[in-house]
Amino acid sequence: MTKRIFVFGMLIGLGAIFIDLLLSYTPDSALNQTARYYAERTATDLGAANIVAAVIVTYRGLDTLGEVTVLFLTAAILVMVLYRDHGIGINKIPNRFLPPTGEMLGTGSRLLVPLILLMGVYLFANGHLTPGGGFQGGAIIASAVLLLLLTNPNQTFNLQLFSLTESISGIGFVVIGVLGMFFAGGFLDNRIFPIGQLGELFSAGAIPVIYTLIGLKVGAEFSSILVHLSEEKEES
């Protein structure tokens, strides 16, 4: 009973805080100083049509590097916990009993997997022009892998390829950031490549390159997490 009263009191307090926030809310009539700087200078300084991409990859690029690192740690720890050595290069026990895949799922996945992959690549290759970017594109690529796994859980994936892609993209991201220190304004500055025409595919300097690397890295990480989770782990 006291526990109930305690929970109820907590909820009332939380509600009071939110109502106070709601009542004291007045919409801003103008952008604040930082936002105005980003909105006015992105197109001329960095050449990116999507301001969000410019903020994520260039102005706040170090934070993105941190995010990517956190994701890498998560994937590494998951693989460390779930990894079981089944012998020489085999990561699945073959011939495990499975109910047959439905016709709809099989046909649908054959049709949809290439389209989903294309959508993911489009999202991170056009991240500097349209909404989207490396994280979204990578997650969509991983969902294509998930569809393949749902269709046939016994499918084997080349896990070496996943980890190779992940490592190369991670190293590439850091190398581009360090190159920015020598050839442009600082770490992760995108002006080491020509900025080009605003709105073109090959513009905005290093932003599309970095976003492609992030997309490949995130896609490979999520895919390897999914493959490891769906593996058969019983020692039967």
């Binding site: 909404p131 970017g133 979204q136 997650a139 969509i140 969902s143």
Partner: protein
Amino acid sequence: MSGLLSFMSFVICVALVGAAWVAIRSTSLPMAILAAGLVSLLASLMFLILAAPDVAMTEAAIGCGLTTFLFFFVLGRVRGGEHD
């Protein structure tokens, strides 16, 4: 925000809270997982209405897609304990 848009966001918010309630109180686990996925889907719609398409995409791909299927993977693994 125009009248129709604020009406739509009101409906979405009510549905969001309802789906969250179902996710917590439902006795069947698949139902709860689907309701949690629905919360993410409605949240991504809200992000889209509030003019944040980048966040909406992330929410739809990770919150609604990958997490829901991850829960189903785990549910299948836990359930299939007898003869898997």
